[in-house]
């Protein structure tokens, strides 16, 4: 690589495949007879294995959180802004582990895997996976790596929900829980958006009740639509205005035109793509549909919808955290309307009620839900300060 992409980067990385023979009983009552997890690690595990950090991915993420897979890779892993030497999650200090969750399409066992019982793709028969099931599978990976206690478990959005589940289900196995742009459970509005996404996939004629791989097709239009809807919820109004209001701003020296930049400079007076934002969403949807599996998308949205750790405690979330021993760091972003600051404050309140050590930051950011993936200085610096202190406390000063 001849450019500066490798500055502060973990560089070229290679995923590893871990096989697990022991059956995993799922929340639904079904079981996976055995499974594989695709994993990437960055940095070095120290002698007493105290410097390990688990990264949990969100809806469309995978094990590739940082660095590059090949010389030609244009884009680094999904959280490269925060993971690397000298970065907030500093790979000079920490051993960072990220995996593709069960049901994913990044190489871990999921709907595109071959079902050993039938010799065909699991497809729609892959069991519904919950956040709890993911965490149970992550514990086995942890044991395989010989790690007794994570220095921290961190994640944004659906990743943050896994972090919360870790704190509830395995209180003795993490020092710090870092949940970013997360929520204690989905709102009706969140579920509604997920249902629109699912309907667009399942109503695509190429969906074939989920058996599309056997027909040699995939529900491209449905996936595109699902992603377009999802993408709108990840951005804020102001972020879209800024992103799609450039031409006007440059021309008039003004701050924006509500993001109404035209694609060709004039209206078509037809049902074509007139505005830049339309073209962008089409492009994003198309890109996504070519690399993501539709059944996985359905599973991930269900995992989101089902997440509610309070159900085992009569709806009292504070009781869910009663046994948690870790310290919590919660971060939200001002323009995130998918999981707005209020949802994080709800979590703070319940954690305080449960008498837990909790820190909470609300970052001013224009970028909406997506902000958790972006290099926003205050956010990244706070994460860095928090983890720097965690490393000193857990691993001593030698790093």
């Amino acid at each position: 690589m001849n450019d500066n992409r490798l500055d502060n980067s973990v560089g070229l990385v290679q995923p590893q495949r871990f096989h697990f023979d022991q059956p995993l009983t799922l929340r639904s009552g079904k079981a996976l007879p055995g499974y594989e997890l695709m994993v990437e690690t960055y940095g070095e595990l120290n002698a007493d294995k105290s410097n390990a950090v688990l990264i949990c991915h969100a809806l469309s993420g995978d094990h590739h959180a940082a660095g590059y897979h090949s010389e030609d890779d244009q884009k680094p892993g999904w959280w490269d802004t925060c993971i690397g030497p000298g970065k907030a999650i500093d790979t000079n200090r920490f051993f960072v582990v990220c995996l593709n969750n069960l049901g994913g399409c990044g190489g871990s066992t999921g709907p595109v895997s071959i079902n050993p019982e039938t010799g065909k793709h699991y497809g729609p028969d892959f069991p519904i996976i919950t956040v709890r099931d993911w965490v149970n599978s992550q514990v086995r990976l942890m044991d395989r790596l010989g790690i007794g206690k994570w220095a921290a478990v961190a994640g944004g959005s659906l990743g943050g929900m896994q972090v919360l589940r870790w704190a509830i289900s395995y209180p003795e196995r993490l020092h710090h829980a870092i949940a970013i742009a997360a929520a204690p459970k989905l709102s009706a509005q969140n579920i509604a958006f997920n249902e629109v996404a699912r309907q667009s996939i399942t109503s695509d004629p190429d969906f074939h009740d989920g058996h599309y791989l056997e027909h040699g097709v995939y529900p491209k239009q449905g996936l595109m639509l699902a992603r377009m809807v999802g993408h709108i919820t990840y951005l804020s109004d102001s972020a879209m205005r800024a992103k799609f209001g450039k031409a006007f701003a440059a021309l008039e020296g003004q701050t924006g035109n509500f993001g109404r930049d035209l694609r060709t400079g004039s209206l078509s007076f037809g049902f074509n793509v007139d505005f830049e934002v339309e073209s962008y969403l089409h492009y994003q949807g198309e890109q996504f549909s070519e690399k993501f599996d539709a059944n996985t998308y359905l599973l991930m949205t269900k995992a989101l919808d089902y997440f509610d750790p309070s159900v085992d405690y009569g709806g009292d979330l504070s009781r869910a955290f009663a046994e948690s021993e870790c310290n919590f760091l919660l971060i939200s972003f001002s323009t995130d309307w998918r999981f707005p600051p209020d949802r994080s404050r709800e979590l703070v309140k319940q954690l305080l009620k449960a008498d837990k050590q909790v820190s909470y930051l609300e970052i001013e950011a224009d970028q909406g839900h997506d902000a958790f993936l972006l290099p926003i200085p205050r956010y990244v610096n706070a994460l860095s300060a928090y983890l720097g202190n965690a490393h000193r406390e857990i691993c001593g000063d030698a790093s």
Binding site: V348, Q357, V358, Y360, E362, Y386
Partner: protein
């Protein structure tokens, strides 16, 4: 450690739960955690201070005190601190009451506007006081509710708040005998140790004695 913090720390029990409203860079809480093994949480709104807290292992919640403390359970802390922040609040009385709902006791410190220097500024110069411990001009001050030691005594009496102990310091020394004699005149910073006393008749309310530690048992 600031002189007021030096006094505050004596009133905090080892191993207790401490909530600091407006914890700044977290230095006091970090010290209390280290030296007294307290379980501390700070509230703060300044991003630089918040980052300092995170970097020194102090749990900090970004929260504006003017928006209330309804997210805290009653009696969930032993001591709630409000150091040098009272005068900057929209509704100081409500917050003091909230402090004493959340904490078994509270510690409030504030710049004493009744200090002789302040009085002199007004009397001789006819100007709003500006000094080392109140460094702002009237138009850019965050301090919107100044009070004197005597004002705060009245607030406690009227609000059924028990004063466990009270002292004043100046910015250099802890109170000398003269300050004990004329706290409202000589003290620059007032420090109160409070509890949300049981209902009492006005008659039984004694004027708080200066540094009256025996009152704590009562």
């Amino acid at each position: 450690m600031r002189p007021d913090q030096e006094i505050i720390q004596r009133w905090i029990e080892p191993g207790s739960r401490v909530l600091d409203l407006g914890c700044g860079d977290g230095a006091l809480l970090a010290w209390l955690q280290r030296e007294k093994g307290v379980h501390a949480i700070g509230l703060e709104i300044d991003p630089v201070n918040i980052e300092h807290c995170l970097g020194s292992g102090v749990a900090v919640i970004q929260q504006n005190l003017n928006q209330g403390l309804s997210n805290f359970e009653s009696g969930s802390f032993d001591t709630v601190l409000l150091a040098q922040t009272l005068q900057a609040l929209d509704n100081p009385v409500e917050l003091v009451q909230e402090m004493l709902r959340i904490g078994k006791n509270g510690i409030v410190t504030f710049p004493n506007f009744g200090n002789w220097k302040s009085r002199l500024d007004l009397l001789l110069r006819g100007r709003m006081p500006v000094s080392e411990f109140m460094p702002h001009q009237w138009y850019d001050t965050p301090n919107i509710h100044f009070c004197t030691v005597r004002d705060f005594d009245v607030l406690c009496r009227d609000g059924n708040i028990r004063v466990l102990a009270r002292t004043v310091v100046n910015s250099h020394h802890e109170g000398r005998w003269a300050m004990k004699a004329w706290p409202n005149f000589l003290g620059e910073v007032a420090i109160y140790h409070l509890t949300g006393g049981e209902a009492r008749s006005a008659k039984s309310q004694k004027k708080p004695r200066f540094e009256d530690r025996t009152a704590r048992q009562g």
